[in-house]
């Protein structure tokens, strides 16, 4: 028995539109990717019999067998380091870090190897692998279960970092990440796991690397990604009541960054607010402010502002709502944009 020969034939025929939660869309993406390419493997903690603590890998072991979706010993550096070796040897591993903060034991492997292998080997060894990280808060989780860890990854050259905000993007971006020739950090906003959409699978949305305007507007651009996209949309709807036309951009991909879409929008609207859940200091939000300002300076009517988490450790469940960017906080900052 060899895995590479034991191709499971699950035909990728368009199905009727069905309701999917984001978590289910991710499961479908994994299943379709594993069916389409025998080199795709899924492993991590509790991803086998249990189907993952969020059930994203539900049924994969049953369908594809223990060789293609399996539990590992409990060690995140081990999981990622093993994936590096498997990717070197022809597989396309997808690994799950159970929660954001539990990817930290793997940071050395990620920073020193995952991100650098292609470069170290002068292009000879690429690592097509995906590290799935359920991240961010808003679900009443206790400490270490709600971190927004994207800055660590986004700052590390060699990584590709994406985060879907809709079930459709969850499916499409995960399929694309698995097909990508380089390692992708795939950040899943836990809070949106249960958001639903009607999908006809398989589907593909805009390509990885492209930001998308989720709501067009003319007065100000809200730039969000992952867990804050729904807030930005809610804020835009509320602002409309007050006569402001708010454009909302969903970045989708943090690295590479879609300057063209963002810049064109801000040049049009002349104002921008970045909305992110992570602590603001030296964050992805800082980067967005910096590059938008560099590129749109003369179109700006007001400084680009940020609505982010505070520069504090993620709060305990009972207080998290005071920390998270809220619609009110977004609206307040929009109002301050020197109209």
């Amino acid at each position: 028995m060899t895995t590479l020969e034991s191709r499971v034939d699950i035909p990728e025929i368009p199905q009727q539109a069905t309701t999917y939660t984001m978590a289910q869309a991710l499961t479908a993406a994994l299943r379709d990717a594993m069916a389409a390419d025998e080199r795709v493997l899924m492993f991590g903690e509790d991803v086998g019999a249990l189907g993952g603590v969020f059930r994203v890998t539900d049924g994969l072991t049953r369908t594809f067998g223990e060789n293609r979706c399996f539990d590992t010993p409990l060690a995140e550096a081990g999981i990622v380091g093993m994936a590096v070796g498997m990717a070197m040897n022809g597989f396309r591993p997808v690994v799950e870090m159970q929660f954001d903060a539990f990817a930290y034991p793997a940071l050395e492997q990620i920073i020193s190897h995952v991100a650098k292998m292609r470069n170290r080997t002068r292009g000879r060894v690429g690592l097509p692998m995906v590290i799935r990280v359920p991240y961010a808060g808003g679900i009443g989780g206790v400490e270490h279960h709600c971190d927004s860890s994207e800055a660590y990854f986004a700052h590390t050259a060699g990584l590709t970092v994406v985060s879907p905000a809709t079930p459709a993007d969850a499916y499409s971006l995960l399929r694309e990440s698995i097909e990508y020739p380089d390692p992708v950090i795939f950040l899943e906003p836990k809070r949106l796991y249960w958001n639903k959409a009607e999908l006809q699978l398989p589907l593909r949305t805009e390509p990885l690397g492209r930001a998308v305007i989720r709501r067009p507007g003319t007065d100000v651009t809200l730039i969000a990604y992952g867990p804050t996209v729904p807030h930005a949309l809610d804020a835009a709807a509320a602002a409309e009541q007050e006569g402001r036309s708010v454009e909302v951009i969903d970045l989708r991909s943090l690295v590479p960054f879609d300057d063209a879409t963002v810049t064109a929008s801000v040049r049009r609207t002349g104002r921008a607010v970045v909305v992110a859940e992570a602590a603001g200091f030296a964050s992805v939000a800082s980067e967005v402010v910096a590059r938008v300002t560099e590129q749109c300076f003369h179109s700006l009517e007001a400084p680009v502002r940020r609505v982010t988490g505070f520069d504090i450790p993620y709060p305990p469940p009972k207080s998290e709502h005071h920390h998270l960017p809220s619609v009110d906080r977004i609206l307040d900052v929009v109002e301050e944009l020197q109209w």
Partner: protein
């Protein structure tokens, strides 16, 4: 061939083929060559702690179902391990617990509401570590084992004879930090006891997918320290084996690794569905090895546990439960401003951000009036 590591006496580092047991599942004494049965007084104290611990655990389980806790990882089935290990320590020895070790903390004397604060969600930790010498319950697996080593080594440098007792699960032994902690402790001869509660599972992952070692205690020899195995459902054996390791550490002879063989009767937490990965039969088999009933049977057999005593402990346990219902049932009072109070000793550092929240709160309060 000159070797750099000591060569002698290392066979004593290997654990016994069978876990040490002093009282079997029916309450009968199973004498052991190396370990004496604890005194009757000690066993009665252990019995009382088990009764209290179990009641506490049941009450917490009830309250998580009622939504009073964000999550609860039950100790059900593991009470003898936690109680026995704690009773083997002095009150100024330090405990380094995980999220699972609530019964251990209650046994040490930490206020039960303090123990559950993390899980209720009003703060990350609900007690002063220096008061009962208990580190904050630790979630990132195995990380606390290094803190235990550092604290213990520090004690030794200060000339104190404090011992650190590190709690850790079977799954967490796979983490790199566990290896580093064992090795640091061994090299520095730090007074640490590593107490592994092998409850058979790391969430859904059974031990045989975690390790194929003869036993987890066999890891000890790789660090040059003794490894011991104990029946983790036999509180008498746990007390004896852990006490010996604690006294060895206290005497400056260095760390010990102990594996307690036990079982988690409940799911991983209330959020877990254990039927997905284990058989009801296995759970039933382990219920037959219940850690409370065997010591109950033993102490009633010796006559030490009278109806009256038992009734007294039961009443005490009810009082703990009642107190929990009352105090944990009330909504916690939290002040959002506190989010900024403990990030740095110097509160000024986050003053700007705190002001933003203050303004929002002032507005809300204004709107509320």
């Amino acid at each position: 061939m000159v070797l750099h590591a000591p060569e002698t006496g290392h066979s004593t580092l290997l654990p016994s083929a069978e876990p040490v047991q002093l009282i079997d599942e029916h309450g009968a004494v199973t004498p052991h060559a190396d370990y004496d049965l604890p005194s009757e007084a000690e066993l009665l104290a252990a019995y009382r702690a088990l009764v209290l611990g179990r009641r506490f655990d049941r009450q917490a389980t009830t309250m998580v179902k009622q939504g009073r806790l964000a999550v609860y990882p039950s100790s059900n089935g593991q009470e003898a391990s936690q109680v026995g290990a704690v009773l083997a320590t002095r009150n100024d020895d330090w405990l380094f617990p995980t999220y699972r070790d609530c019964v251990a903390l209650v046994t040490r004397g930490v206020d039960p509401v303090g123990v559950l604060t993390l899980l209720r969600g009003d703060w990350h930790s609900g007690y002063d570590p220096y008061e009962q010498h208990v580190a904050p319950q630790c979630t990132p697996l195995a990380t606390q084992s290094l803190h235990g080593v550092g604290l213990a080594h520090a004690a030794r440098l200060k000339g104190e004879d404090t011992v650190a007792l590190v709690f850790i699960g079977d799954g967490a032994t796979s983490e790199g930090d566990f290896h580093e902690a064992l090795n640091f402790a061994a090299v520095f001869k730090a007074p640490v006891v590593f107490f592994v509660q092998n409850n058979g599972f790391a969430i859904s992952v059974p031990l045989d997918k975690q390790s194929v070692a003869p036993s987890l205690a066999h890891k000890a020899i790789g660090y040059g320290i003794p490894g011991k195995r104990v029946d983790g459902n036999d509180v008498a054996a746990v007390i004896s084996v852990v006490s010996a390791a604690v006294e060895r550490a206290r005497a400056g002879e260095g760390p010990t690794l102990i594996e307690a063989h036990t079982y988690r009767i409940d799911a991983h937490t209330n959020a877990d569905d254990a039927t997905r990965y284990r058989d009801a039969h296995d759970v039933e088999a382990w219920r037959g090895k219940d850690p409370v009933s065997r010591i109950d049977a033993y102490l009633r057999g010796t006559g030490a546990l009278t109806e009256e005593l038992a009734a007294g402990y039961a009443a005490e346990a009810e009082a703990v439960a009642e107190d929990l219902r009352r105090r944990l049932g009330a909504d916690p009072v939290t002040d959002p401003r506190e989010l900024f109070h403990h990030v740095y000793a110097d509160r000024e550092r986050l003053a700007d951000q705190a002001r933003l929240l203050d303004e929002e709160l002032a507005l809300e309060e204004g709107a509320g009036q």
